[in-house]
Symmetry: D2
Subunit: 396 residues, 4 copies
Amino acid sequence: MSRIAGRNHLYVPGPTNTPERILRAMVVPQEDHRSPKFPELALSVLTDLKKVFKTTEGTIFTFPASGTGMWEAALTNTLSPGDKILCSRFGQFSHLWADMAQRMGFEVQVLDCEWGTGVPYDQYEEILRADKEHKIKAVLACQNETATGVTSDIGRVRKAINNANHPALLMVDTVSSLVSIDFRMDEWGVDCAVSGSQKGFMLPAGMGILGVSPKALKAMETATSRRCYFDLGDMLKNNATGYFPYTPSIPMLYGMRESLNTIFEEGLENIFARHNYLASGVRAAVQEGWKLNLCAKAPEWYSDTVSAILVPEGFDATKVISNAYAKYNLSLGAGLSKVAGKVFRIGHLGDLNALSLMSAIAGAEMSMLDNGINVTPGSGVAAASTYWRTHAPQAK
Amino acid sequence: MSRIAGRNHLYVPGPTNTPERILRAMVVPQEDHRSPKFPELALSVLTDLKKVFKTTEGTIFTFPASGTGMWEAALTNTLSPGDKILCSRFGQFSHLWADMAQRMGFEVQVLDCEWGTGVPYDQYEEILRADKEHKIKAVLACQNETATGVTSDIGRVRKAINNANHPALLMVDTVSSLVSIDFRMDEWGVDCAVSGSQKGFMLPAGMGILGVSPKALKAMETATSRRCYFDLGDMLKNNATGYFPYTPSIPMLYGMRESLNTIFEEGLENIFARHNYLASGVRAAVQEGWKLNLCAKAPEWYSDTVSAILVPEGFDATKVISNAYAKYNLSLGAGLSKVAGKVFRIGHLGDLNALSLMSAIAGAEMSMLDNGINVTPGSGVAAASTYWRTHAPQAK
Amino acid sequence: MSRIAGRNHLYVPGPTNTPERILRAMVVPQEDHRSPKFPELALSVLTDLKKVFKTTEGTIFTFPASGTGMWEAALTNTLSPGDKILCSRFGQFSHLWADMAQRMGFEVQVLDCEWGTGVPYDQYEEILRADKEHKIKAVLACQNETATGVTSDIGRVRKAINNANHPALLMVDTVSSLVSIDFRMDEWGVDCAVSGSQKGFMLPAGMGILGVSPKALKAMETATSRRCYFDLGDMLKNNATGYFPYTPSIPMLYGMRESLNTIFEEGLENIFARHNYLASGVRAAVQEGWKLNLCAKAPEWYSDTVSAILVPEGFDATKVISNAYAKYNLSLGAGLSKVAGKVFRIGHLGDLNALSLMSAIAGAEMSMLDNGINVTPGSGVAAASTYWRTHAPQAK
Amino acid sequence: MSRIAGRNHLYVPGPTNTPERILRAMVVPQEDHRSPKFPELALSVLTDLKKVFKTTEGTIFTFPASGTGMWEAALTNTLSPGDKILCSRFGQFSHLWADMAQRMGFEVQVLDCEWGTGVPYDQYEEILRADKEHKIKAVLACQNETATGVTSDIGRVRKAINNANHPALLMVDTVSSLVSIDFRMDEWGVDCAVSGSQKGFMLPAGMGILGVSPKALKAMETATSRRCYFDLGDMLKNNATGYFPYTPSIPMLYGMRESLNTIFEEGLENIFARHNYLASGVRAAVQEGWKLNLCAKAPEWYSDTVSAILVPEGFDATKVISNAYAKYNLSLGAGLSKVAGKVFRIGHLGDLNALSLMSAIAGAEMSMLDNGINVTPGSGVAAASTYWRTHAPQAK
């Protein structure tokens, strides 16, 4: 395929743009993962990841795998075949996790919610209260549903469980939220926090990251699900001295080390504030500029990492996306499953600033105009620009 | 840790040295793995990998995982809980695969062989002949046992199965042999060929590669082992159009593309010949120069990718290795499990030439001398040099 | 200095953005520049550079130097102390070349023109006609004055010389025009064409490039200016077999090889068309959107590689630039010398597309608004977007 | 040209092997060299380079140029046409500098010395004593003659000048010695110290580095040699605030920053000790192992950065080199000019350790044997190995 001049403008909600300094840190020769020097790197990464999950009690695991693998690791290491799981479905990724749980042999109670909303906190509480025999062993929650741009409040999920005084494990998908939206593993009592390298960590895909609470580690002892590659026991034993049970990716470890350096330099809270600030500008472009709607039904659900934008009735969002790619070298996220053709998505997470997003806003607008969608030229940029000029990121 | 001047000399049998051009090919910005352009890359990799496995009938799968994950994928996609497996154990890696099979719930018959020998072809045939009811569903074989430097003849394993007229699937671990030692998936009727990126492919670890025969794909339809992350069905469906069910590592795909380019430029048969030529020189250093023994018991078992060298009685191979690392920045492979302390290993696979190995030979010799082992200074290099100067790589 | 999240948006008119593939091509180990293999690279670069200069008769030289060094090489290799030179000054770079000529001991006639205009073709002709004794040995012309965003027509300079029937050498500064704006060394009878790596070639600075006509090479034989590092004779002798008189930069050579590959893939004429297309959009933003003026006085002078934009009376362009850098991580070009504080510059050359420039336009607008300059929010992007959506690049 | 498997073994005395971390540091996007942030980098490099030259009084300049350019800069910035220069010639590089001085219009007194010896200290003193009128304005000395592997004692050159009580400037070529062999700009009263990036700094070629004493800066005020690109005045003015008069190479600046980090981490004195230690092992291989002679006539001249090795009468060193390259992918330095065909050179400077050099020693030996030169197989490695095993680097 012939070269298109200029850079690709990447605004899918993952993989995100890898900063040059992280890209650079990954250009390393291979090295012996059994050397006396190796644990220095491995342990520093495993230890510092705790800060990102906001846990001191938990243990962090990394696997050569995608985030999907961590969904599986969370389930098989803590549960036994036939165990009951409570979860909710309101987008493609909450759907896929529920689906996996069924395929892995668990009994899954799925609450179907309207796409554009998130975890049904009250319904969770109700069901857990009703589960007097504590048959439900795990509660699943997707902190950020990437397909619809919906963020749920994990603190409220914890409260629902606590209100029901229920011992179920709380498992949270943080793939498209960690390091971008506040996540508090210890405070919220999260037992398994599933994540991956290619979103907030700004790395290529390929490192699955899993935060595990002491309670979940204890559950592991009696969990009889078959597992080997994703077995936390093997990992725990080897990690203790700074090694891995099988060959890790050397570039990914160095990349993660540099990602963590980057994160700590900016500061986690500053990063969250920046994501909120950038997301607010994008939402201003969509709502005040273009007069369009988000897929997320209400402000409480708005995601600071991705916005799913509904095109007006009668238009095909798929064409907006394909035209943007072919004509402007702009990669937007597609609508998936139920919202296919209805939304296009702008990922606004990772290593971005306001002017980066201007390309996405201007390009999306141009592609909508090319497709006959009636938005005012320049309106998106004007609204975002006004927001960004008159506000500043606010760390909480 | 302070800098040691000069490069690390990496001669563990994996990860192997990544050539500059492959390292370079991996320095890529992230990109949308759902873009219209993406399949071009993905399909070219999946298709060209077939040539490396010497298969036209088989299907190649790649996963964000290490080779260990592919062991699991091979087993769980084709077998059902309780299925009987025949395998042999003569080193740490053949041991680990057998161990995994047990943990994943299969009934495993393990033939323990002397470390330094390989697959017991005749015993396999005998057992398979005796299995009139065809309870054995899979036969496992490790083409190259990395721990002892032993290569088995997979063609003879196939012959044993055929002689017994047995329908079991043949599963082969090619992790430390593929692209270095001849492997013929179709000709030898291999049903699952397990491999990884960090040996003959000269890439970092992180891409698991699995070759699957039509027969194994058919077995998948009835195999009831729980699987999701490693499910070949999901992969097959997505791969059909050049996509993956979850986010792949963009750098690893570009790296594999460049690895394949490199391989085809040199030519598979030339690569095998080069590995044999280089290994022969290393063996000359060990046997003719140093007057030491290989762990491999007889020439028929000699591996062209790694040599495990027995230190004389009364000496500790571990000290040879740690001293080589600390004093000469040389990474040698350690003895594992049964041969811990008894052998050190020189990996001679991947992107190497004769002079590269001279560093390993000279360094191992220096470290042996430092440890009081009585070898003649310069003898290893002299023997290797004589071999290499008077022979040329012979492609078959 | 602490990290600013997201990329720097680089729109100075050089160094320009280096495409990833060129950056990647430069990650090379050092190599022996006297090896038998080296000439393959060197000769391919020197030969292919001719296509970029549109010369078959000329010779291309490369030096480890910036473009400034090539100004000196052009002068000292072809002229003798006291030789008379005709040139014009209408911006910082035409000024610096004239200044160098004086410092190097030549007798320089400088025609001062209004900044915002270019080479005074008729005045050149007049002066050359008057120079009956042909005391003027060289005529200098700056094809693209980077400081003011003014492009002169080198074909008309040639015509002026021809009309005067004058034998003077024609020396052209193409630093910020080559590979972006059409240049025809042979057709226009250019004797010395001065260029550098960090603009249209999209490389880092550090390689000076000089195109030399047979006539200029002949002049070299009698030119008595002192020179050694920049001596074309030494270079010519070594280049003949593919070598250099002193150690060249290996990464820059590989980078230039990849730059040329990139250029030929897109096609020189397509590149010129793209630059015109992109520049037209930027000018639409300035003139139709913001209602501001360019420094360039008339369309005939408009540069397709850089636009110098006049801020309204009473405002300080320097503050627009420093605020853009500090607040939006946007690098704009400053006004130099006579236009300092009066203009800011947007470089629109090299590896760019429309959406890249949207960041520059949106950012410049935001910074003007922050400084109290009364432009309509979104107006620049709207005008550029309309231009780009309704036009296509036109290769001539 | 088809790929040769494995790395090239680079042992020419420059460019030297660039460590991965420096290579990595150079993979940077371009940036505005006029930005407010830029001086941070530029000033840190210019300041820290002083430590490497061991000067507090001097000023360091860097140019986009090779070391050859710095020869010219030293001469033209401090001398006037016709000024008298005293120098000595005992190899290709001392020859070239003398030749340049003549071509640039100075009156050069060249003392021809036997190749294999170095600066004739006593003769220098004698001539300077005799120059009662102080017509000699500059004394040139090549600290390390790369062509013959000869190091001269610059302290003794200073003593010769002082003994003669002569005011001439002392100019020293440190291209292949700086950062590898002790150099003391202030203590030895060196007025111009010429260097380049591609030897001890372990960078690609392309950055010329020049140390200038206050006395030489004063001489600049009256020196009338024509200069512009290499004018120190322009540079001084711009450097004062952390900028450059023309576009510098961004990657080279970041590379130099990382080179300096590397140097300070290991420690200058430790680096000198390591170079002496490594050189001693190579000399043991040559003299004790192979029973061959160095081009350097006596131990006082032995260079710690490069050894020129004389092949026995009747053999052609050129063939040893070309065969080593073609057959073993080993790059050795060729004999130049008077010693062409008589010597091959092993560069042992930069980022090297003992095992790196084992490849060079083993490869040179193999190539000599291939060419019929009667050396004992393994003898070079044995001698070097014994030296290295029984000695340790000694920082003075």
